[in-house]
C-alpha cells in the first residue's frame, strides 16, 4: 500500500515536475451537493458553518456598482488600477480642503491595493472590498517642499506608487516645486501616520476627512457608471 502511494506521488511528480504536484479539481456538483441536503461527510461541516456568513455578506457585496470597460491592472510605476484609486481620492472632497485651499495631488501606497486586477465587466461592491480591505481614511497632509521631495525619493526607490497631481510623479522626482512652500497632499491615514516607511510624515499636520478610501472609490464608480482603464492618472483640474 505504501509503495503504491509512493508510486502515485511519483507519477504525479513525473507528470507535473517543476510545476505543481497535483491539481485537485472538485467540481460544482460536489460542492453544491455539500450545501444542499445530503451532508454526510465531514466536508459539509465547514461549508455548513460558512454558509450563513457568506449569505449575509452576499446580500450587500454582490451589488453591482458600475462597469469596467477593460481590465484594470496594478503595475509599477503606474497602472490603471492605482490610477483609479488616486483619481477617486481627489474626485470629490479630496480635491479641496474645507477652507477652500487647493490640494496638490494624491498619493497612495501600492501595498494598500490588495488585488492585482479588476477584470473587464461588472464591478461588485465586494470587489472594491477585496481591492481596499483596510478601513483607511483619506487625510490631507500638509507637507513642506523638502518633505515632498523626501516622499518622492522613497516612491522612486520603491519603483513607483499610484499618484496623481501636477507636482508629483509615480516614478520621477520633479523639480518644479518649491522646497520652502507648503503643499496639501491627499493620502491614506496609514501612510500619513508613518506607514510604509513614511516616518517623515509623522510630524506633518493632518486634516482628516472622515471618509475611507474605499467608500470614495465606490462612490466614484457609482457616479461614473462606466470606468475606462487609464495608464496615466487624470488629475482633475481644480477651479475649472
Amino acid at each position: 500500500m505504501k509503495i503504491f502511494n509512493r508510486f502515485l506521488l511519483f507519477s504525479l511528480f513525473l507528470i507535473t515536475s517543476c510545476k505543481t504536484q497535483y491539481v485537485a479539481t472538485s467540481n460544482d456538483k460536489q460542492l453544491y451537493k455539500v450545501t444542499s441536503n445530503n451532508q454526510t461527510d465531514t466536508l459539509s461541516d465547514i461549508e455548513r458553518y460558512l454558509k450563513p456568513f457568506r449569505d449575509s455578506l452576499n446580500m450587500t457585496m454582490n451589488e453591482v456598482i458600475g462597469e469596467a470597460m477593460g481590465d484594470f491592472i496594478k503595475e509599477k510605476p503606474s497602472g490603471s488600477l492605482g490610477n483609479l484609486v488616486v483619481d477617486a481620492m481627489l474626485a470629490d472632497d479630496g480635491s479641496q480642503m474645507t477652507d477652500g485651499r487647493k490640494v496638490s495631488g494624491a498619493i497612495t501606497n501600492p501595498g494598500g491595493l490588495r488585488i492585482n486586477q479588476i477584470p473587464k465587466g461588472k464591478i461588485t461592491k465586494g470587489k472594491i472590498f477585496e481591492l481596499l480591505p483596510f478601513e483607511n481614511e483619506l487625510v490631507i497632509v500638509e507637507v513642506k517642499g523638502t518633505v515632498l521631495k523626501q516622499w518622492m525619493e522613497l516612491i522612486k526607490d520603491n519603483g513607483g506608487w499610484p499618484t496623481t497631481g501636477e507636482l508629483i510623479s509615480p516614478s520621477k522626482i520633479l523639480r518644479n516645486y518649491n522646497l520652502d512652500s507648503t503643499y496639501y497632499i491627499a493620502t491614506n491615514d496609514y501612510v500619513a501616520n508613518g506607514g510604509d516607511n513614511c516616518s517623515f510624515l509623522i510630524p506633518c499636520k493632518k486634516h482628516p476627512t472622515g471618509k475611507t478610501i474605499r467608500e470614495l472609490v465606490i462612490a466614484f464608480i457609482k457616479k461614473s457608471k462606466i470606468i475606462i482603464p487609464n495608464k496615466t492618472a487624470s488629475f482633475p483640474q481644480i477651479g475649472e
Partner: protein
C-alpha cells in the same frame, strides 16, 4: 547529532539525480520499473515519515476567487483545501498542518466578522500551529485576543515580547508536537512592526531580533527538549533587495532549525529552497504565495535512529475548484 551522514547524503543525491533523469526520460515508463525504483527507496530509507502541509498569507480567503475572469478565478477556498488535507491525512501516518501568518484581512469576511470565521475554519481544518503576520493585528491587540477564543491551535512567536499586553498568556514562543515516534518543535518569528503596523494596533509589544531569539529557542528545542525536528514559522518575508532580515538571511544565521515555512512577501515558490545555516547544514525554506491558492507539502523521511533523511521534492498542491 540529528544530521544525515555523508553516506546517506550521497545516496540521496544520486537517487535524486536518478529520479530527475527518469523524469526527463520518456513518459511511457513501465510501471514495473517504477515499482523497482520505489522498492529500492523503501529499502534504503526508513519507516518513519513526516508530512508537513502548510499555508501562508491566506488573508481571509475562505471562498475561492470568484469566476470573473481574473487571474486566480476558481482557485483557493477552504472547502477545496479541506478535501486535500483530508486525503493526505488518510494517506500518511504523521502529518502536521501549519500556517505562517496573515490569516486575516483581504475579504469582506474580515471587515464584517473580524476574524471569527477564519480562526474557526482553521480549527475545523485541525491546524497544528500558526504564527502571527502583521495583518493579524489589523483590529489591534484586543481584536486579535477576541478571535483567539476560536483558535483551537497554538499561535507561536518568540521575538515579540508581549509582556504586559493582553496577548501575554495567549501566545507562546514555541510548541512541541508529538507524531508517532517523532517529537517536533515549532517556533515562530515575526516581522519588525515599526513602519508596518500602526503603533496604536500593537501598543506595548516589543520587537526583538528574530535571529537571536530563534537561536535561543531552537537550541532549547533541539538540545534540551531533544526534538527530532525543528520547524520555524516565519513572517519575515522570503527576500528583499536590501539587507532587511528575510528568510534567506535568517536561514543562514541560525542553527538547530531544520525547516523554515515563510510568509509576508506572497512569494510563490515552485519548490522549497535549500539554504546552508551557520553550521553549514541545509535548511529547507518554503513559501506558497498567498490566499490559499497553493498548499505546500514536504515529506521528511527519518531513519531508524531518528536521523532524518531527506525530503521528497517539491510540492505544491494546487487547490482548485470551480464555483460561480
Amino acid at each position: 547529532m540529528q544530521n544525515p551522514t555523508s553516506d546517506i547524503r550521497h545516496l540521496i543525491s544520486s537517487r535524486r539525480s536518478f529520479i530527475k533523469q527518469t523524469a526527463l526520460a520518456t513518459t511511457g515508463l513501465l510501471l514495473a520499473n517504477n515499482m523497482d525504483v520505489f522498492a529500492n527507496i523503501e529499502h534504503q530509507t526508513s519507516n518513519i515519515e513526516l508530512t508537513v502541509l502548510h499555508t501562508n498569507d491566506v488573508h481571509s480567503r475562505l471562498d475561492p476567487f470568484p469566476m470573473d475572469g481574473s487571474k486566480y478565478q476558481g482557485l483557493g477556498g477552504v472547502v477545496a483545501r479541506e478535501k486535500i488535507i483530508r486525503s493526505v491525512r488518510n494517506e500518511v501516518d504523521n502529518m502536521l498542518l501549519l500556517d505562517a501568518g496573515d490569516m486575516f484581512q483581504g475579504t469582506p469576511y474580515f471587515n464584517f466578522f473580524k476574524g471569527e470565521p477564519e480562526m474557526k475554519v482553521m480549527s475545523m481544518l485541525k491546524y497544528d500551529a500558526a504564527t502571527l503576520g502583521n495583518h493579524d493585528f489589523d483590529n489591534g491587540i484586543d481584536g486579535l485576543v477576541k478571535q483567539m477564543d476560536y483558535a483551537d491551535f497554538p499561535i507561536v512567536n518568540c521575538n515579540y515580547d508581549f509582556a504586559g499586553t493582553a496577548l501575554e498568556t495567549l501566545i507562546s514562543p514555541y510548541t512541541i508536537i508529538k507524531r508517532g515516534k517523532l517529537k517536533i518543535g515549532i517556533l515562530g518569528v515575526g516581522i519588525e512592526p515599526k513602519g508596518l503596523i500602526p503603533d496604536r494596533l500593537c501598543e506595548g509589544i516589543i520587537y526583538n531580533n528574530p535571529i537571536a531569539r530563534a537561536n535561543e529557542i531552537a537550541d532549547y528545542l533541539k538540545n534540551k527538549k531533544k526534538c527530532d525536528y525543528v520547524v520555524c514559522l516565519s513572517h519575515l518575508g522570503f527576500e528583499y533587495k536590501d539587507n532587511k532580515i528575510s528568510d534567506k538571511i535568517f536561514a543562514k544565521e541560525t542553527e538547530n532549525i531544520d525547516m523554515i515555512l515563510g510568509g509576508h512577501t506572497h512569494t510563490f515558490l515552485d519548490e522549497p529552497v535549500m539554504i546552508k545555516n551557520r553550521n553549514q547544514q541545509e535548511v529547507i525554506v518554503n513559501q506558497v504565495g498567498w490566499a490559499g491558492i497553493h498548499l505546500g507539502r514536504i515529506n521528511i523521511y527519518f531513519d531508524n535512529k531518528k536521523h532524518y533523511d531527506y525530503v521528497s521534492k517539491n510540492t505544491v498542491i494546487e487547490v482548485k475548484e470551480t464555483r460561480v
